[in-house]
């Protein structure tokens, strides 16, 4: 499966393009940061409001910014694939076998499941019914707290990708 993924990724020629255009990597990093603050700005603010910050804002209104967070996520998945495919040192394997990267991907997956749980179990509907100045239900607060924890951990382990040796050392591996 890993080999298939790498073959498809490299069939796009992304590795060659990154290697021959010095602007691609720094520009993609800039875009990756933009995607990050869009995601944290849109989703993190809904989480904060559910947890009780700025109660004057109706939760349902704030959720209208969530599509912006989705755009941020798509930007980051795209630039992320460019980083993995275009990695000049060690190629895609270097990322896929990097513990910090693996933890980051698992955390993003759990954050996705958390969002699905938010909608499937009717928690979103209960949260949306919260009026301005109102308190969101406990279940929504749990999902929101978990969401914040997960996304900030995604940033942490994203940073650790380049310092994987430190992470391995800290974990005694």
């Amino acid at each position: 499966m890993e080999q298939t993924f790498i073959r498809i990724l490299l069939s796009t020629g992304v590795d060659n393009y990154v290697a021959t255009h010095d602007w691609v990597w720094p520009v993609c990093e800039i875009i990756h940061f933009f995607g990050m603050f869009l995601l944290i700005g849109a989703v993190g603010l809904v989480d904060l409001r559910i947890l009780g910050v700025a109660k004057g804002i109706p939760i349902k209104s704030l959720e209208r910014f969530v599509p912006l967070g989705v755009i941020g996520l798509v930007l980051n998945l795209t630039t992320g694939l460019i980083f993995v495919g275009g990695n000049p040192v060690g190629g895609p394997q270097e990322y896929l076998h990097n513990l910090a990267f693996q933890i980051k991907m698992v955390l993003i997956l759990i954050a996705g499941l958390n969002v699905i749980a938010f909608y499937v179990f009717g928690i979103a509907r209960a949260a949306d019914a919260t009026p301005a100045e109102g308190d969101a239900p406990m279940s929504a607060k749990f999902v929101a707290g978990l969401s914040l924890l997960l996304w900030f951990s995604v940033i942490l382990f994203g940073r650790y990708i380049m310092y994987n040796d430190t992470l391995l050392y800290v974990l005694g591996l």
Partner: protein, 165 residues
């Protein structure tokens, strides 16, 4: 002076300690603080530009302290990273572009507080003062440029090749 900072016990610890709480953690804090201050700022700016008008501008006031939370995290993590990399950063013109953009963004935030959030029409939810949008556009512009310059600070060779200095 620069060398003394860089060789201080704290700077050496930040840069060289294999502890989880040293360099990578501080670098992560810097990204988290950025996400908080710029993330919240962007949503507030979009509301000031007219998106989701059902949200009262006055209700956004309580988000301002959270922007300072992000800014404070980044002031401290940034100073730590600067101590660790002082000679590189202080000889990098892009680093000063980044600092200037952050300064402009923070001045703009103060002006937004004075002219938007403290406006009686906003406080009483009776209207929106003129010129609100220019503060929103400035904040999006300054923070975007700060991020671009911050990233490019890490690529001096690339900057030299593209800008010529």
């Amino acid at each position: 002076m620069i060398e003394a900072i860089e060789q201080s016990a704290y700077a050496v610890w930040v840069r060289e300690s294999p502890s989880f709480w040293a360099y990578t953690w501080i670098l992560s804090l810097h990204a988290m603080g950025l996400a908080i201050v710029v993330g919240i700022n962007s949503i507030v700016a979009l509301r000031l530009l007219g998106y989701v008008p059902e949200i009262k501008i006055n209700s956004l006031r309580k988000l301002v302290p959270w922007m300072y939370v992000g800014f404070t995290i980044n002031a401290f993590s940034g100073l730590s990273l600067l101590a660790a990399n002082a000679s590189n950063d202080l000889h990098n013109w892009m680093f000063f572009v980044k600092l200037s953009m952050i300064a402009l963004a923070m001045v703009n935030l103060e002006l937004t507080k004075a002219n938007v959030f403290n406006d009686p029409m906003v406080i009483n939810n009776t209207g929106v003062p003129a010129g609100v949008k220019k503060f929103a556009i400035m904040s999006l512009l300054f923070w975007s440029l700060a991020i671009c310059a911050g990233r490019l600070t890490e690529y001096p060779a690339f900057v030299q090749a593209w800008f010529g200095f």
